[in-house]
């Protein structure tokens, strides 16, 4: 087994996915515009973006399904699509939803996918398929024809296909699509378990809550371009925290905050001020929240409420990708 050790020698490289200047043009439409991606090994990488922002096209290029107009891709340290035959067996993928043979049972459909790879051992195929079905909780329906499957079951079967083998990298496009809340939780737990075992997971999603709970890194696409990429904390922190003081003495409060080096603004009896990048690793250039409260009390300001807010991922997402119907965006 090849474990996904980070920086596994010169062959491994530190990146599970490395894309440089990835571009795809369909006729006159630029679907993906010079995207640079660097997915560290062992990370759970969230790939965000509104519908039609080029996520799936990017994934297709990463997997060698579509040919980039420009730019290049390395998967697990090897150039794609040249290394397709050696790299893809180590990559599990769910691309734009599951696809099943309606006339085959789940078990037969998975066997066919497994047989498609000339490197897979036929002797252990049955066991591999059964295990993959077990992992996604489909054992009871393994011998049903797939046309009888519900959306959630189809999604699970798609995931089973991605898990047929020990993978170093999983590329999952909307893995929780169509799943009920229990199913979503199971998928999240499954991804977490895989990540704990060292599998790199590249997951695209609209579900920001899910990304927030799962991912160590995120990248955000907008209209074919990558607008942000980095550790999750960085994305959140880039928006900055802010402190809000509710008080009947707004002017006094504002001057105290100004005295602390902040730039307060007053509205409706609430004084707010940006606190700069947050997180527990506070760098000390801005006052800590507790010292703000202490200073306010010491100055005799009547504090009725004090709140430090961190922007939600959704706020940041919308800030980066624009409101849904924002034409100018």
């Amino acid at each position: 087994m090849t474990s996904a050790e980070p920086a596994a020698g010169p062959a491994g490289g530190a990146s599970a996915i490395l894309a440089r200047g990835l571009t795809k043009r369909f006729g006159r439409r630029l679907a993906v515009d010079s995207v640079d991606l660097d997915v560290p090994r062992g990370s759970v990488f969230g790939f965000l973006g509104p519908n039609g922002s080029g996520k799936t096209t990017t994934i297709r290029m990463l997997l060698g399904l579509a040919r980039p107009t420009a730019g290049q891709v390395e998967l697990l340290g090897e150039r794609m699509p040249r290394a397709t035959a050696t790299v893809l067996p180590r990559v599990g993928a769910l691309v734009e939803g599951p696809a099943l043979y309606p006339f085959l049972t789940a078990r037969d459909g998975l066997s066919r996918l497994d047989a498609a790879d000339p490197r897979s051992v036929s002797r252990t195929r049955g066991a591999r398929v059964a295990e993959a079905l077990e992992r996604v909780g489909l054992t009871h329906a393994a011998d049903k024809k797939a046309h009888a499957y519900s959306l959630g079951m189809r999604q699970r079967l798609g995931l089973a296909g991605a898990l047929l083998r020990e993978r170093e990298l999983l590329v999952l496009d909307e893995p929780s699509n169509g799943l009920d809340p229990q199913g979503t939780r199971e998928v999240r737990a499954l991804i977490r378990r895989l990540a704990d075992d060292g599998t790199t997971v590249f997951v695209s999603s609209h579900l920001l809550g899910e990304v927030e709970q799962l991912c160590s890194h995120v990248a955000v696409m907008r209209a074919g371009r990558l607008v942000m990429s980095g550790p999750l904390g960085e994305l959140r922190a880039a928006g900055g925290r802010s402190a809000a003081v509710r008080t009947p003495d707004p002017d006094a409060a504002a001057s105290v905050l100004a005295g602390l080096g902040l730039r307060p603004s007053v509205a409706d009896g609430v004084v707010t001020a940006d606190l700069g990048p947050g997180g527990d690793a506070h760098d000390g250039t801005e006052p800590a929240p507790e010292s703000i409260v202490a200073a306010l009390v010491a100055a005799g300001v009547r504090v009725r409420g004090f709140e430090v807010t961190t922007p939600s991922l959704e706020d940041r997402f919308v800030a980066l990708t624009g409101e849904g119907f924002d034409v100018a965006g």
Partner: protein, 287 residues
């Protein structure tokens, strides 16, 4: 960096390739599919229909109707031949067109094409496996017709040594060998059409369109083959030798049409196989 050197030890260890697993899977998927079984069953009905009609009406055909029809009442073994002759212009190209047109376009429409390719099946290997399936169907179809024909023929009519077109007679074993040759001839004749269907199938994600186009091409080729003004073109039409199996029923067997047909079908296979590969190898899989 060199990707060849970069292949990790684990992949190299399990690098013993099993390139035929996909072929097996393709054949199983094709022949266990209800649609394929239904098509083969429909083909098997043709000789049964012919035999029953001839038996019930009890009338000879007075030389009218398809080849061998008049011989049926005399010898049941001719039912299979008659049915083949009847099926060659339409039913055989129709069913083969369905299988060939579905090859790539069908997988694309289901979306399974992308999963086969990331498995990774390899584009050339997938095309080969798909074509192998088409070729297997091209053989299975005439075999089913001939077997069904011989079965029903033996049931409803006398079976005796067959008088060949050359006037010689052959016994059951000889006839069996010739029937096998005949089925192979028909299968061979369909290989060119199969390659055309495979190519058309790489052009679209709508399987019905690819099927229809393939069948239409088979029809058009047969129509062109009927026009005496296009004499020069006839030897180049892939349907030209479809009915040329009479030579197999002479003694000794005349191999000319077999050889010419093989050459022609090989040429179609080479051209349309290459076109299919050129198209499929660089195609963006967006379905």
């Amino acid at each position: 960096m060199s990707p060849d050197e970069a292949a990790p030890a684990a992949t190299r260890r399990s690098a013993a390739l099993r390139p035929f697993a996909l072929f097996g899977s393709e054949l199983a998927t094709l022949f266990l599919r209800r649609r394929t079984i239904a098509m083969l069953a429909a083909l098997a009905v043709v000789p049964v229909l012919i035999a029953v009609v001839v038996r019930v009406t009890g009338a000879g055909s007075n030389g009218r109707g398809p080849a061998f029809l008049g011989s049926i009442t005399d010898n049941g073994l001719f039912v299979g031949f008659t049915a083949l002759v009847v099926c060659i212009p339409l039913f055989l190209p129709l069913t083969l067109g369905v299988v060939a047109g579905d090859t790539i376009a069908g997988e694309a429409a289901l979306g399974t094409l992308r999963y086969l390719l990331v498995a990774p099946a390899g584009r050339a290997r997938l095309l080969l496996a798909k074509y192998a399936g088409v070729a297997a169907f091209a053989l299975a179809a005439p075999v089913v017709i001939v077997l069904a024909g011989m079965g029903i023929g033996a049931l409803l009519f006398p079976v005796r040594p067959v008088t060949l077109l050359s006037g010689d007679t052959t016994d059951a074993a000889g006839l069996l060998a010739r029937t096998a040759l005949l089925a192979c001839y028909v299968a061979l004749s369909l290989l060119g059409l199969g390659a055309i269907g495979l190519f058309v199938s790489t052009l679209t994600t709508v399987p019905v369109g690819a099927m229809a186009a393939t069948v239409v091409l088979a029809g058009a080729s047969q129509i062109l083959d009927q026009l005496p003004q296009l004499d020069w073109l006839h030897p180049w039409l892939f349907t030209h030798y479809w009915l040329g199996f009479g030579d197999l029923l002479r003694d000794p067997i005349v191999w000319d049409s077999y050889g010419q047909d093989a050459l022609l079908q090989a040429a179609y296979l080479a051209v349309f196989g290459a076109l299919a590969y050129a198209r499929f190898a660089t195609k963006d899989i967006l379905s």
